[in-house]
């Protein structure tokens, strides 16, 4: 059981090694990287490649660790009790299973994605230490311990907005997805657009990497933005020559709104383009 990337996801050597280490040693894998480098996508692709079900847990600033285990739906029970529903007698009707519970009870090994763990409260990772380590937790309402039938592969993504506690980090493997180089990028694009004209791709990558080189950009365009942009270029049927016109009258690449998401960046870029246009 080895992950080698899939037909729609290009994984570099270091990434596959990290995933395989996490699979083999059954430790959670923490993934960081620039936005848009495919952190969330990784879990989906690993699940697909290894043929395992995927459980996703998207973390928000209000998410509590407990919600991943189970929740006691007191409001429903309260309502049922007011209406005299007989279901109210059995508390297990009101225990809502969280993502980890579902994964623990799954009959085959599964993949759990804990997405953007840094969005949650600072205590969130600490509250999951034991659960991730021993892969079990106790349900107080039912007086029973839920233990994982098969240790799931847990993939955690972080955008680095908060520092994660040391104790948590020690239990994880860590991988930082660095921005792909030109060669890898070509492979990534090839996976998404198998029939893309060679020239268009070459010109587009040229423009893209040039754009990333501009100093002072607030948000550099990333892989997912490149893919979006290429989609637009294809949909609008832009010829490769249009991208090449670097020194001619329109130095701004067509549809650049897909690449630059920040008003100030667009402005900066237009000014630069204007200046280069004025040069003889």
């Amino acid at each position: 059981m080895k992950f080698e990337g899939t037909d729609s996801y290009v994984a570099t050597r270091d990434l596959t090694l990290a995933v395989n280490a996490a699979v083999a040693l059954q430790r959670p894998l923490l993934i960081k990287g620039e936005p848009g480098t495919g952190k969330t996508l990784l879990a989906e692709e690993v699940a697909r490649a290894l043929n395992m079900p995927l459980f996703q847990w998207h973390v928000k600033s209000t998410t509590k660790a407990q919600q991943g285990l189970y929740e006691y739906d007191a409001v429903s029970r309260l309502r049922d009790s007011q209406l005299g529903d007989p279901r109210v007698e059995d508390i297990s009707h009101y225990i809502v299973h969280g993502v980890l519970w579902q994964a623990f009870e799954c009959d085959q090994p599964s993949v759990v994605l804990i997405d953007e763990i840094d969005k949650a409260d600072i205590e969130f990772p600490n509250d999951l230490l034991r659960e991730l380590d021993r892969m079990e937790f106790h349900c107080y309402e039912l007086h029973r311990t839920i233990k994982a039938k098969h240790r799931p592969l847990i993939i955690i993504t972080s955008n680095n907005e908060k520092e994660l506690p040391d104790a948590f980090l020690r239990r994880c493997f860590f991988h930082y997805i660095k921005f792909p180089d030109r060669e890898t990028m070509q492979r990534i694009v090839g996976v998404h657009f198998p029939v893309l004209k060679h020239e268009l791709l070459k010109e587009a990558l040229e423009v893209f990497f040039d754009l990333r080189e501009i100093p002072g950009l607030k948000k550099k365009p990333s892989t997912s933005e490149l893919i979006d942009w290429l989609k637009l270029l294809l949909a609008e049927d832009i010829p490769p020559e249009a991208l090449r016109a670097k020194d001619a009258k329109d130095a701004i690449p067509p549809l650049h709104g897909a690449l630059l998401k920040n008003e100030q960046d667009v402005h900066l870029f237009e000014r630069l383009a204007f200046m280069s246009r004025r040069k003889p």
Binding site: L17, L25, L78, E161, R170, F173
Partner: protein
């Protein structure tokens, strides 16, 4: 096993723990990687290092420890034929290939192999790349100057620049890089959530408790949402010597604006005196009295100065020392008043910490605001500042 390596990492101040070493050994036992040092590098990085800011330090430590070792011991570097062929084919230009045809493939391969072997012996001491010069049949471009990565997946024979020697994570080292996003993240450490304002959120626990007390009849409880309740006063030095640091300050400012709901900013020049201003273009016409500022904002605000604190000592110490106008009271007096009004204060200095000792005015300002309250305007400095502010 690997204990020396582990201790070496420790001595380079990498936060590695025994638990992680055991995991690494476990991974090696599970034969996750073959004998290649490259793979071992990736594996140990994945298992031992938990922060990309430490990648660069790890790269250096790894390089120091494994200098000169080409493969894990016990794995003799044999170069298989078809692999060499593949490598040659991939890295040769059309012209080279034409010349190659003339010479004969076998012969060239023979030479390349010899070259590799020779290189290994000669550079056993630890040099990293195959020479770029030479009169090989590959022509001058046979290997590009950065070194072709001859080190496939199959064997542990490495001649190109090693991955860790490229140090591509250098700019993730947190003493260097500073961008809007990074600053935002650093500022976020200064968050304190509080419930204030209109009650719009259902307080479930309160409702349940209330209902139970009510004898089973529903008793709804609402409460206000959580907000970041931190309040910040930002005093920015503009003009003069600060011109060199405009970009860093701009970034800091735009990040702070996005991060804090209660943010008030004021400008000053070199040192704070009786007047500050909110709009730099109208600094002479619309000055605010510093007294007014002090009386307007309560002591729950946190005070952040941004400035290089580099000026003539008179500007801090003497009445009339200001370069712009006649000040009745010395800058130090005003500084002291501000610090007294908002005891939680920090000064961010875009000058590198190492140079602080050479400018007397920096020392004087630090004396006023407190020696441990000035921080360099780097990511690490910002984090320290935020931590000291939230104490």
């Amino acid at each position: 096993m690997l204990v020396d390596f582990f201790l070496h990492l420790k001595s380079r101040q990498l936060p590695v723990s025994t638990k992680e070493l055991l995991a690494l050994l476990e991974a090696l036992e599970a034969r996750l990687v073959s004998g290649s040092l490259d793979d071992f590098y990736l594996l140990s990085r994945t298992l031992l290092i938990k922060d990309e800011a430490l990648y660069d330090r790890f790269d250096r430590a790894f390089g120091e420890y494994f200098k000169g070792i080409e493969a894990l011991p016990g794995f003799d570097a044999m170069v298989p034929e078809e692999w060499l062929e593949l490598a040659a084919r991939r890295h040769l230009s059309e012209a080279d290939r034409a010349r190659l045809q003339k010479l004969g493939y076998e012969k060239v391969l023979e030479q390349l192999k010899e070259r590799l072997a020779e290189q290994k012996e000669r550079h056993a001491g630890g040099s990293k790349w195959i020479g770029t010069a030479g009169t090989s049949p590959f022509g001058h471009g046979g290997y590009n100057p950065e070194g072709v990565r001859i080190g496939g997946d199959s064997v542990g024979n490495r001649t190109a620049i090693k991955v860790w020697d490229q140090r591509e994570f250098r700019n993730l080292d947190d003493s260097v890089d500073l961008g809007v996003r990074n600053i935002k993240v650093a500022l976020r450490r200064l968050r304190r959530f509080a419930r204030k304002g209109a009650a719009t959120e259902l307080d479930l626990d309160g409702t349940i408790a209330g209902t139970a007390r009510n004898g089973g009849w529903l008793d709804l409880h609402l409460r206000p949402e959580r907000h970041n309740a931190i309040k910040v006063l930002l005093f920015l030095d503009v003009g003069g010597s600060m011109d060199d640091h405009i970009q860093a300050c701009e970034e800091l400012f735009s990040a702070a604006r996005a991060e804090f709901k209660h943010l008030e900013h004021f400008y000053f020049h070199n040192c704070v005196y009786e007047g500050v201003w909110k709009d730099n273009r109208r600094r002479h016409s619309e000055k605010l009295s510093t007294w007014d500022v002090i009386h307007t904002y309560g002591p729950d605000y946190k005070l952040i100065f941004v400035g290089d604190a580099s000026m003539s000592p008179y500007e801090v110490a003497r009445p009339g020392g200001s370069v712009e106008h006649w000040n009745e009271e010395a800058g130090a007096v005003w500084l002291q008043r501000l610090v007294d009004a908002w005891p939680r204060a920090a000064w961010l200095n875009p000058l590198a910490e190492a140079y602080w000792g050479y400018t007397p005015s920096i020392g004087m300002i630090r004396q006023v605001i407190g020696n441990d309250r000035m921080f360099p305007l780097t990511l690490d400095g910002l984090e320290r500042a935020m931590r000291s502010l939230s104490k």
